[in-house]
Symmetry: C2
Subunit: 335 residues, 2 copies
Amino acid sequence: MIIDCHGHYTTAPKGLQAFRDSQLAGLKDPKHVPSKGTLKITDDEIRESLENAQLKFQRERGTDLTIFSPRASGMAHHIGDATTSLHCSQHCNDLIHRVCSLYPENFVAVCQLPQSPGVPPSNCIQELERCVNELGFIGCNLNPDPSGGHWTAPPLTDKYWYPFYEKMVELDVPAMVHVSASCNPNFHTTGSHYINADTTAFMQFLTADLFKDFPTLRFIIPHGGGGVPYHWGRYRGLAQDMNRPLLVDLIRNNVFFDTCVYHLPGIELLLKIVPMDNILFGSEMVGAVRGIDPETGFYFDDTKRYIDSVTWLSGGDRKKLFEGNARRVYPRLKL
Amino acid sequence: MIIDCHGHYTTAPKGLQAFRDSQLAGLKDPKHVPSKGTLKITDDEIRESLENAQLKFQRERGTDLTIFSPRASGMAHHIGDATTSLHCSQHCNDLIHRVCSLYPENFVAVCQLPQSPGVPPSNCIQELERCVNELGFIGCNLNPDPSGGHWTAPPLTDKYWYPFYEKMVELDVPAMVHVSASCNPNFHTTGSHYINADTTAFMQFLTADLFKDFPTLRFIIPHGGGGVPYHWGRYRGLAQDMNRPLLVDLIRNNVFFDTCVYHLPGIELLLKIVPMDNILFGSEMVGAVRGIDPETGFYFDDTKRYIDSVTWLSGGDRKKLFEGNARRVYPRLKL
């Protein structure tokens, strides 16, 4: 089985945007009383939104199962308050649950969290429990910067996050470290904010003893680990200068990179540098880059093709990359 | 000649820190009247600070000339106000000038700018002119985030920066895009803030028409271009999705990466992916990573060794990397 650990519902029917527009309009009206509102989307609309996108690409590219979550840039935790974020998250997560119920062999669910700037992440525990215990979700996306590019929250290694981590450990679910849209004009959402957040999170993990406190806590750093594999020597050197553990020991059971790197030389570097036990196949499809690479004639985000063309990978390595590691990181995945 | 485009005076005599300590103490005293103060450093102290560090490494590694600037993390533009920053910059730049006067065959000078959060960069024109016209400097380090990790300035492509760019163009000097110390606990200075800033700047350049307005403006993005070469496919794809020019056309005469990447696979990726005309040899020596790589027995930041071991580089490519491109980007370099 080939498991894609990184897919978002970027093609959701327009009813989702209608809900969000109505919610945002309410925020601008001082007399508006926040309410959860309703999402008007039919099962047929869901089917249609997937058949010509994620499902088509699964068939064409030969992947089987996508670990699927709400659109990352749509989380926009910086908008409104914790109630805004809760209502939006519940709708988005319910929608993902419907996708996974309609296509139980193609999608398995990961949830968005109702984070909000300045609100301790313990406020997300209830929604995580609902998604995992009631709806069968197997993980969550955790935003290290709910402010959307202003980076006002404490680092992921701060005790601020610990109550939420305790729940993750109890439920045995991992988190993908995933920021959302940037509202800071310095950062392009998918071009720099995403990649920066990946690099930032890794360095936070490198400089603290989080995994001594939580030996079974697991994070996936998406987008191939941001800038980290390219600068692996820098990070090995910094760790050594600071008397920190070897990187391979530091990440062994706790930090994993996906393969959302959109050209062969980048994928080759990733597979050469990062231990094979710490890489999960992912494509971010349908995601940040939608086009076809004129140099290859194939979609930029068809990352399976790059991996398939790395001839020195053993069969055992491929098995880990495409399935085994995902099953280890997401033990609630039972398919 | 082998020109290292990226060296900082990280080993400055303790008199520099004494000046800075006194300046910072003054900031805490409400009765203190800011004054430029003095820097008590002898020529012998300067010689000693370099002989067992940068000069030793130049000899050992076989490099000839370092394009040399004040310690980047020491700029700390977020501390104090524009006057604080001006006094500090003037001392740091004068010190670099003394280094270059003592060792005119080993060092050529690049200046720190008196940036300050919320202060338009036009306030740096005078110090740039002083350094270039009076002291023979050949470039500057431009900090895209004087707030030190809060990213409160407009993007580098905003007209906010244009008056300073006009002066850079007039003087025909390039800028290395280089942030300073992070005062945001999310960002480790050399581990994530530096790399993030590189990635951020590139994406800003990709999404705007800055180089249509300034066809001869030149930036060096240090640390191997941050996360960019590793994600080159992502950036090619994003540019295509946004109907932007091809990356190679976008950067051709305006954006250059150095080779501060501290392992061979990273250097190989850089040299394979980025056009050879847009790469300048650099080591950041003595800089972010001070140690010896136990896997090779050589210093992590001895980047010349990595390049030397890339067998497929032609003689012409090596000449560009080590000398030709630097002379093109820094036309005031006359040695």
